[in-house]
Symmetry: D2
Subunit: 333 residues, 4 copies
């Protein structure tokens, strides 16, 4: 198994990258006869695209071309292969600083790992791969319809401010960040409703564990919580119990729909933290291979606040994880 594949039964393998001719994906394990709604895919891709001045101005023409696996827009059981062309790569933006490592970025670790700080290697780290995750997730969502599963997400906070209650503070923060050429982090809440029950394995493929791994595959993720998450560490057991209703639902959902690693039928709720994007339009200290530190601006076009794009990516990974775990669970029957 290579390291470009997400999932074991419903799998997405990513190929190409942001600086190659294309970035693409192969979906295996997709059930047969699923109607693929191209509009829904495009809607999800649009949600991932810059929607305001706080997101990157890089224009990405995310037209998805399918190469195999569909007939009359319906899945066939064979591999579903698709790609998006990279039309708007301004290579000079990236190449001019090739010999300098940015702080908190992939430059140095790629140099460590591969012995060169090559433009094309950075393909693999690029957030452009998340467009492929979104296509995979969009198709997974279509598969999940037959189970009634619905996945949604919302921004919980930006820069530490509550997204619901502190809109004014956020507005000011974003304006500052924009003017300063800075960036800012945020937090996403995701909810999977009408979940299939009994998903996840007791010991080492807990639903929560597989989801955690997949979510941490999204660039810039720095934290992951199930249910009430870290707040549960502050509570007594008596406060943390989700009490039964007669229909086996519970009066609260502190556990986020997962007990002992297995889905219990309540909504799966989880939270994902995104750090602020490291590439900012300010002077940064860059370091050369020889250990010489230089202060300069790096350039390129990057997100001021990626969190507006992150929700749909989180949903997509959640949808693929659900499909994968549903298929895994079939081997238990």
């Amino acid at each position: 198994m290579g390291h470009n594949t997400l999932g074991e039964n419903f799998c997405l393998t990513i190929f190409g990258g942001s600086h190659s001719k294309v970035v693409g994906g192969i979906i295996e394990g997709c059930p047969q006869g699923i109607k693929i709604d191209m509009d829904l895919i495009n809607d999800d891709l649009l949600r991932r695209k810059p929607s305001n001045k706080y997101s990157t101005q890089r224009i990405e023409q995310d037209e998805v071309i399918f190469l195999s696996g569909l007939k009359n827009n319906t899945t066939l059981s064979s591999n579903i292969t698709f790609y998006i062309e990279n039309k708007d790569v301004k290579q000079e933006d990236y190449t001019k600083n090739l010999n300098l490592f940015r702080p908190s970025h992939c430059d140095y670790v790629y140099y460590l790992k591969y012995g060169q700080d090559n433009l094309l290697l950075k393909d693999m780290a690029s957030a452009r791969n998340t467009a492929i995750m979104v296509v995979g997730g969009s198709i997974a969502k279509m598969c999940l319809k037959q189970y009634g599963v619905k996945i949604s997400s919302n921004i919980e906070s930006i820069g530490g401010f509550d997204y619901e209650k502190e809109q004014d503070e956020i507005k000011k923060l974003l304006e500052d960040v924009y003017n300063e050429g800075d960036s800012v982090g945020g937090k996403i809440r995701c909810e999977i409703k009408n979940t299939v029950k009994g998903l996840g394995e007791p010991l080492f493929d807990k639903f929560s564990a597989v989801l955690a791994k997949n979510i941490f595959s999204i660039p810039s993720v720095c934290g992951f919580e199930i249910g009430d998450g870290f707040k549960r560490t502050e509570k007594k057991g008596s406060e943390d119990l989700d009490n039964w209703n007669n229909d086996f639902s519970t009066t609260s959902n502190h556990c986020g729909g997962i007990n002992a690693g297995i889905t219990n039928g309540m909504s799966i709720v989880f939270h994902v933290g995104f750090r602020p994007i490291g590439t900012i339009s300010q002077k940064m200290k860059l370091i050369s291979k020889d250990g010489v530190i230089e202060q300069r601006e790096f350039g390129g076009r990057h997100d001021k606040c990626q969190i507006f794009r992150s929700g749909v990516i989180v949903e997509s990974v959640a949808a693929m994880t659900m499909m994968d775990m549903i298929l895994m669970n079939k081997t238990n029957k």
Copy 2:
């Protein structure tokens, strides 16, 4: 690949369980010629055992018996198989309530998944499996010595109180919890020093992602953060950057030793949240298969505050993950 195995190259497969005759493990991929220090294993197992009145009073005779893989206490390259006998299982504690599902516990989801609420099935969910993780981790630590890697952990908070600064509040809380038959959650910080650089794969086997999955395999984990974790979501990019020193170390370590999913040589720092144990010595609402809710005490011996035992388990999983990623990385050379 079954669901009882942690890791791909350095793997621990768990067998048996708390209500079987034994609980045991098989380690594959352990390098040859590693001297196994039984005292260190026992020290780690002791750290996992009840150390005070706030932990469960169940006495566990954790003598590790090795069946294969060692000669003169040195590893041979073949599988290392070991087990711990279950001498002190009081089955009646568990059986008397078999037809009632506890809240926030494995009872209902196991019933959903396996169609019976069987005593022995609960083997798989038992915290007793963590003793096997500790043995595996202890051996992994011995393997890591040759790389200079050192792993340590500390309690960060209990019930929301800072473990360093709010000892008095914690003391009172624990006393209350003990007297009330309640439990309480907490948070562990773990640090891997002198880490091997360049570990982790760029796309779907990021070091952070694999570690997240493995940590979520520990029972009761509800949250996981790398480096400054969720605090990073509150910051601007300019505040979050880890600036270079001339030797490629950084002046801060907000990222917790991982950039773009790959280790950069700084200490790997992460945080793990543990929810309060759900089985408390208070009246709880239990539900029968028929949906009848009954309020009663469940009994059995359980942790008031498991966090005292959790550090060594977190370290163990971290150690096995490090070894696994070191071996994975060899295929890149």
Copy 3:
């Protein structure tokens, strides 16, 4: 995934070995509620044991002890762990020649791979592991009953003589081999009747491919054929076609029940070649680590004609493969 595990969904992990205290196995993925008939397991183990003077005289007390996974001899969905003690290991037989490599044996390649010619490492190569395969296979056969699948085998040839038609020649050959302290090879035919249809994946997990791999895991296997096997290479396409009956069965079964890698419902028929055991009671040329060749007898107790024991091992691997592929196929639905 370690290298001690056969199968992905119905898996057998082997632990210990012939020179450890025990050799044992863990079965994962076994369906729930399967009644385990210990007599059938013992019958299969007896078929693997020396049945005549042509097989090794080493007495193996193959009593299977179960440690987990059963209640009232019925499977529970958790891991099924079992072992066989090694009561009768005469270590001196093996240790006295530790510094000499036998021809056509594991000694040299283990030295190459692990840098030492250690007694315990040879655990892994020992035919004793096949006892564990037989227990796994016996349990797989019990699982297959619900599908109506039946697996049988027969000896096709010994030393090149047809087992049905040339019994006299075989009798004389075996007598010669016995008197000369030599060994002889043979061929097994295995048939899986009432097979589940549609098993196997089109590209890289063809039923035939997975079966080939698993069969080649049996020590001393030197060849594998599906259906008419190599005889098909001598034929014209028009002679090789299996013509249809109206019920989609075929008038012949040249393809051995597999088309394009997928089971078609006809009996799966395959053939397995076993080379003669290399350790014979004659003077052999042994070589030391220093490249000094010495002619001497090696000693130990070994098979004159293992083929009498091989059928049940082949069946066992076939049974586990069937169960694994049945479970794999469920993820397609």
Copy 4:
């Protein structure tokens, strides 16, 4: 892990198919800095193409387009993605008989497995995928150069006639087969020289076992032998031993370079049987979904004697297996 991937460390994932717009592949795990010689790839692809009137007349424009992973024709460590366009698909050849199942073909088993006999599903069974295997193998051969490994193959027999000694009989047979619109099987011998020693795992990832699986992934393979193969079943142990030379090479190579599943440094020799292609230009009995049998010619362009194309495919799978096992072996160090 999906079922479209060959290998665990050096992996080839195939996408698309013969009736899609493209058929392509992704290579992961390819070492960095390997110079890719496009001429060698094209040479290997030519060896797979129809070379005479006995092979299919279908013209395949096998121009390989690389999408990622190379810079200046040198590997970068990232995924290598490539494809071949399908320019010359005559869909009508295939579609006209869609509702009839050919004997000994994928039609019926695909119908069983996927519930429809769709043109595009047959993508997966198509021999066109072998072009992708050849590209993967050609690149693997380039990687193997640094180890000095050389892989070659030759036709051993066609229609049962020895390819070296019975050329006249073969010539006549092929003429007959051509005139009759029939096909014929054959046998390939493959040899891997200067092999890396110590490859393969003792228990369940034996070199021989992994190679057997991979070889059986090639369409139409019906048998596989290592070394002297089935001939060894006819011999006594004393005749089968490969005696030592002082340099640890052996005076014979009955075992085909593999002892106990692990490479010993002698050439790896193996034999592969190919059945005659089932689609012939004669009247065949076809069956409808309703069980009505009809005798008619099927049409399309197919191989009279694929064995001329098979050698390079076998070599390619052998080369990818070698690279995969070399990388796997690194995790043992």
